[in-house]
């Protein structure tokens, strides 16, 4: 790869190591979404459509601000609006920009059976390479955040790329560029964690004592993080997973059991071969034919 920022550290359905000599010593990247600063303007959604040349169906009004209704192959990011009545009886409008979390331990990549259809760059971005995608939907099965969508048009999987194309040439993702309030910031993961710590401190001083950073350790941390006023209850934010991790079922399905099963299949065939070599075929001889003929005559 010519571009250092596009060095691949992990590749789906690939059992040999990826090129590993160059490392991202400068650190990985991260997008920080500060829900306390978000005004729900959807500029990020529009910027995403614009940069990525996506046009979702206009759809219909479902009685809320959320539009479109869900993520799709054409909508890689979506403002999810939740109304929460806090214990004091006040209404809180919790708005969360949903999209791929770019897990350090991506369930989609683990589940994918197509070599190179999902890659993880050294900068932390998890990207789908649609030309290698076979459309099986295993990424959807593997994802702990319900993010990938299979297109009805071409049967390929799509999701947020964290604008890997922009990041590769030193630009910030399109959604970051468009955000008018500074709710979206982008930088090294370390910087984003520091920035989040300041934001959390500020929120705590304003009475949000459970404010915190959402960087779930169950998936090794993510390269899209949230500052939440209620970090103790992520599920308030339109069902953000409180403790996401790759499902045990997916681990059992895609983990060490697969090479083990493969070995047992090979061993079965090998055992058969050595049975042939050591014991040999069970053959009928003339004596058997004679015994059969005699038995038949008797009856």
């Amino acid at each position: 790869m010519a571009l250092q920022s596009l060095d691949i550290v992990r590749r789906s359905a690939t059992t040999t190591p990826s090129p590993d000599v160059r490392r991202s010593y400068a650190g990985t990247v991260a997008k920080l979404i500060d829900t306390s600063k978000c005004i729900g303007c959807k500029a990020c959604q529009v910027a995403c459509m614009e940069w990525n040349d996506l046009r979702d169906e206009v759809g219909s009004n479902l009685g809320g601000y959320q539009n479109p209704a869900d993520l799709s192959d054409q909508s890689w990011t979506l403002m999810r609006f939740a109304e929460y009545e806090n214990p004091k009886g006040d209404l809180e409008w919790l708005i969360r920009k949903d999209g791929c979390m770019h897990c350090a331990d991506p369930g989609c990549l683990k589940a994918c059976p197509a070599p190179g259809a999902i890659v993880q760059y050294s900068n932390g971005i998890v990207d789908f390479q649609e030309e290698n995608c076979i459309g099986c939907g295993y990424c959807v099965t593997g994802c702990p955040f319900n993010i990938p969508r299979i297109s009805k048009r071409d049967h390929k999987a799509y999701k947020c790329t964290l604008c890997s194309d922009r990041v590769a040439v030193g630009l910030e993702p399109a959604c970051i560029k468009a955000c008018p309030t500074g709710a979206l910031v982008f930088g090294t993961k370390e910087d984003m964690q520091l920035h989040a710590a300041e934001r959390v401190e500020d929120l705590k001083s304003r009475g949000f004592e459970n404010a915190g950073l959402y960087d779930p350790p169950g998936v090794g941390g993510t390269h899209v993080m949230y500052v939440l006023h209620h970090a103790d209850q992520p599920e308030l934010y339109a069902g953000l997973a409180p403790d996401p991790h790759i499902s045990l079922l997916v681990r059992a399905w895609k983990g060490k059991t697969k090479p083990l099963a493969l070995a047992v299949m090979a061993l079965t065939a090998l055992t058969a071969f050595f049975h042939f070599v050591r014991v040999g075929r069970d053959e009928v001889d003339a004596a058997d034919e004679a015994a059969a003929a005699a038995a038949e005559k008797q009856s």
């Binding site: 399905w253 058969a272 009928v284 059969a292």
Partner: protein, 218 residues
């Protein structure tokens, strides 16, 4: 008294049974190869046999469905013959004699031996598991009907059933080669009387005593 020039032949499988068996075999092998392509990266190259990854994903469920439908016909034919008897249990206990070709020590075997019957039941359970889990996993048709939790369970069940079935079929294919004359039984439809006497003596007695024996002259 002179020996006949070639041994007398008994009909083992009718042309209809052979057709069912080989249709099932073909569909199963194609389903297994396309499935194994997605089972582990080391076998992804098998997808080239089907025209690449996307074609493998598209074809696999349809081919597998053909296998399941044909298997239903197959299972209906075999159902009565596949019941395990006390003699079968004895046969299974003497696995060492089975493996070392010491058939003279084994109980007399009917149309099918206990190994064949077990394979049948493994196939039956496996096919059922693959069918049900496969429907849940088939996104082009059923993607919207099942929760991700159920799809995860199905994915695991599908892989486990497929693994058991592939191992079972490897044993089946080798056994057909091992017990010389069996492949002819499924290809030409006939076995020699000596073969039936040696490997399926109870069945031999049955067909040679029968008022309407399924036999065929030389």
């Amino acid at each position: 008294m002179s020996e006949p020039a070639s041994p007398r032949l008994l009909e083992r499988h009718t042309s209809a049974e052979r057709t069912t068996h080989w249709t099932l075999a073909l569909a199963f092998v194609l389903a297994a190869l396309s499935g194994l392509a997605l089972f582990h990266p080391a076998l992804f190259w098998l997808s080239e046999l089907f025209g690449g990854g996307p074609w493998t994903r598209i074809l696999h469920p349809y081919v597998a469905l053909i296998a399941v439908v044909v298997f239903l016909k197959f299972a209906a034919d075999l159902w009565d013959d596949a019941r395990l008897t006390p003699a079968d249990r004895q046969w299974l206990r003497q696995m060492q004699d089975v493996i070392h070709n010491r058939e003279d020590r084994l109980p007399e075997v009917g149309r099918y031996n206990a190994g064949q019957k077990l394979l049948f039941w493994v196939l039956f359970a496996g096919m059922l598991g693959l069918l049900l889990s496969g429907i849940v996993m088939w996104r082009s048709w059923f993607g919207l009907y099942f929760s991700v939790g159920l799809i995860r369970v199905a994915s695991l069940v599908h892989a486990v059933c497929a693994f058991v079935l592939v191992c079972g079929i490897i044993v089946h294919v080798y056994s057909a080669f091992w017990i010389k004359g069996s492949i002819e039984g499924m290809v030409r439809g006939t076995v020699t009387a000596g073969w039936a006497w040696k490997h399926h003596r109870a069945w031999f007695r049955q067909v040679t005593h029968d008022a309407h024996p399924r036999t065929r002259p030389n």
